[in-house]
Amino acid sequence: MTDGTPSSPPPERYDVLVVGAGIAGMEASITLGDAGFKTLLVEREPTIGGKVLLLSKVFPTLDCASCISGTKTSRVSHHPNIDMRTYTEVEAIRREPDGSFLVRLREKPRYVDMATCTGCGDCEKACPIIVPKENDFGLRGRKSIYIPFDTGVPKKAVLDMKNCIYCMACERACPADAIDFLQVEKVREVRVGAVLLSTGFNLFPAEKKTAYHYGEYPNVVTAMQMDRLVGPTRPYNSVMRLSDGKEPANIAYALCTGSRDLTVGNPRCSQVCCMYSMKQAQLLMGILPTADITLYYMDIRAYGKGFEEFYQQTKAMGVKFVRGRVAKIEETSGNDLRVYHEDTEGRGVLVKSDHDLVVLSIGLLPNPGIATIFTNETLELDEMGWIKMRNETQSPSMTSIDGVFVAGCASGPKDIPDSIAEASSAVSQCIAYLTQMRGLAPSGVVPEQTRQESNGEASGLHREVPVEAK
């Protein structure tokens, strides 16, 4: 590591670096921290929580997403063994001769002092610039200085310098004097014993499926936008068409948008879209009781615990399931939409159906940038760009690099229960690696705990007279 600004003190040490603070990364950090391992959790976004925090409710139990991730964001931010760094990129990871990893971090300037900002939002009110809000997928605007998400952690403002016009209104408005235009990027180096990658996924960019005209027809939206429209922190407090604000009365879901589709380069199934579409259908039936909802599908993949039952329930509620992939969407008068599909269960003819809102059930794509940060080892990706598990039928959490583990959607699309299972599994194998391969004991706070010395003796075992013998 020669370029960049080297940090002057010797690199700080952590037992484990967790990259990505979505549901898997948070779960992994908490379990590691609970076991006494000093964990550095790095997130490139200004808040932790990942995509789950943005969702409405989650299948198949319809718990609110905040109930799932809110517990974890809070525990992460108060855990004595977790050091959380938001708005920070992992720039390079190098294996050292002693087996540890030297990690270079780039902390992006927020232009807001984290220690003094109270998250009051006065700066937001003062800022005159409005740009589309990333966390609402363009459904509403945000200011150039903004609090990224209502329930986000940390609840601190961040200044988007790209759109700032240096009017200094925020600086004048801030009651805590937290705005600092002089902040600069900081490069830090840390040394860690193991790395856990939980870098998640990217959403399929719906405009790539040109036959569906996303971005062109205002009433074609993505399922992620719909989840925001029905969520507790929803932008409009109602479900409406983007063209005219009308409540939709006849909603279509186009499943497999960007999945199982060679024309967009993704032959794989994204695992979660059938279920999230049915979840939204159920929520919409509650919000818009008179609306018709139709799901156009190829196969309904309700394969997890309680999923098939959820599918049957969705059908029983009156959601219409039409087997036939949407071929194309056409806009008709008044921004209504015509959906072309094949009648695969009838005579096999082409059918045109009219709807006033179409939701694209977009798939999940890899977030492969992480591979390039390993400077002297190779993190293997699969042919699509997902992180490759070293041996899926033996130790699924290991990657091609010793001491580097993977959890959650970084290795492929999966639902929340599977992501959490993977996070725990990765922690288990990570602890085993640290204790066994590297002889490291946890360096964090271990209240009232001592680690057992393993001498191989069956300490808890004593034999007694066999009952059946005499």
């Binding site: 999923f307 269960e345 299972a421 808890g460």
Partner: protein, 660 residues
Amino acid sequence: MAEIVLDKPGEKPRIGVYVCHCGGNISDTVDVAKVAEALKGEADVVVSKHILFDCSDASQNEMIEDIKNLNLNRLVTCACSPKLHEATFRGVAQRAGLNQYLSFHANIREQSSWPHGDDPAGATAKALAQARSAIAYMRDATPMEALTSGSTQSVLVIGAGITGLRSALDLASMGVQVYLIERLPYLGGHSAQVGGTYPTGTRGDAIVRDLVGQLLRKPNVTVFTNATVESQSGYVGNFEIRVHIAPRVVVGPSAHFNDAIAACPVSVPDEFEYGRTARKAIYQPRAPVVPNLPVIDLDHCTRCGKCPSILGGAVDFSQRAEVLTLKVGSIIVATGFDPYTPPQGEFGYGAVPNVVTLPQFERLLATEKGPELTYLGRKVRSLAYIYCVGSRQKRAEGDGGGPVHEYCSRFCCNATVNNDLHVHERFPEIRAYHFYRDMRTYGRNELMYEQAAKQGSIFVRYSEDNPPRVTTEDGHALVTVQASILEHDSVAFPVDLVVLVTGMVPRDNQALNDLFSLPIGPDGFYKEVHQKLRPVETNVTGLLIAGTAQFPKDIKETLLSGSAAAAKASTFALKTTLELEPFVASVDTSVCEASGGCLRECPFGAIEMHEYEGIGKRAWVNSAVCKGCGACVAVCPTEAIQLAGLTNPEVRDMIEALAR
């Protein structure tokens, strides 16, 4: 532990109340603003607010600020189930310098907004009553301390399939003492019976041998086969498990095992081959056995005396069962699944000779070494797979019969197309037809489906209302199906072999389930506390579940689940002391009349009768075993037994507030 600030007698309660919207889960039904407003008038309530999410970090910080700025000394949150967030708000109290038990979490979501969605006014009134009851309780609440208990740093894993093997291996690698018990004489469970697994192609027995090999090299693992749990007692950190170990009989090496096996007159269906072939009472399992010697199936052995005459001292029929007592801190139940066995006649099973189940077919493929696939002496040229046999079932009207498996078995679509690829690779001339409902090759498994279709397998979708019929004709099986792709004509496919794609069903484990009071979900599998928040835990702390005992999974998912359970077990096993809830029963010996009612009522065996000097027999509660359920309190004729933190006067206060 934070310093207890509220121990000055006479200090006035100053209560903060926070009513949660739960992002609409509560506020869509309950008028939270009205509840919060009404509570402002309650005695001792200093502040009452309604918040979008009580649990969000910002709200937690707001509560801490309020506690500090307004000198609050009690916290009431009206939100979701305490299972979800009670600990969160105890943490808030603690971070603000209060005793953690001076926080109370009233459940106005599961108990008011959700069940009364059709009656907003009623739900609001009920939520208000619940809040008042919580305030009444908190008013006289006293600080408490968590109980602590010593913990044994060892883990019992029940079941040595790949889940149990993976859990045991991970825990052993962390330095934890592991006991792995298996009821069968061999290790590896169903995975050892699988041929080429997806997605790696590794044979199932190779996966098992690799895991067993790694495990046996660990000094801190003890494996018991032929072993079942006989009884259990204790609690997290201190379980005492009695394990029954059936005799092994084959005790030493011999050069004559093959002769003895040949001489054995017994022939029983071989469970390893799912009954396709037979084995003797003495046999060499094809899965790993420790030590690597043949085993004797004593249930079927006739004690004819042939094998002792051939094997001499290598067998010892006088060997007796043993019972061991293990002390462990936590338990992982990884008892796996049973394959679905179709009843006689379902899709021709048992009636048409050329019908096998998926596991039987996998054994057929694994054992067929020749250049062609033969079944019942005939070359197989065509195959039909019928999907969803024993899965996604619907109970017919008026059918009061056996269990119905409404769930999807998850692994079977993938396993079947994977098998089809192997068939095509080895026997390319075989023509394969797949009769399916929804092809659930999720994720990357989609590529296997695509590949199978590309190489010529025919996929025909059938409707659940009109399933295929299997009959027999000229030694063939005839699969007759109506499908849209066949223009709804009834088309018959004559095939040499029909494979019923059978799923996983919950294993009949009644004895074990009763022993541990294991929670069973509506699908018949073990039920976790919460799929996303506590996915491997049960309501008994320290009793964990993993693998296909919880729900069908493929090999990769099973291994992940095994590791995940190990991670949870490690949070107990790496500690020497554990914290326990202080809400336990205790006896006022001056009032107790030793009626014994509490002893009989206690479901946990926590109460004993003790002889006290000078006063005689009185009830005594083992606080480490007590779960604070209160059953004893209800039956005590003299109110001598009380729950700490939930005494009768406190409960009365709550009831009165509810009834106001």
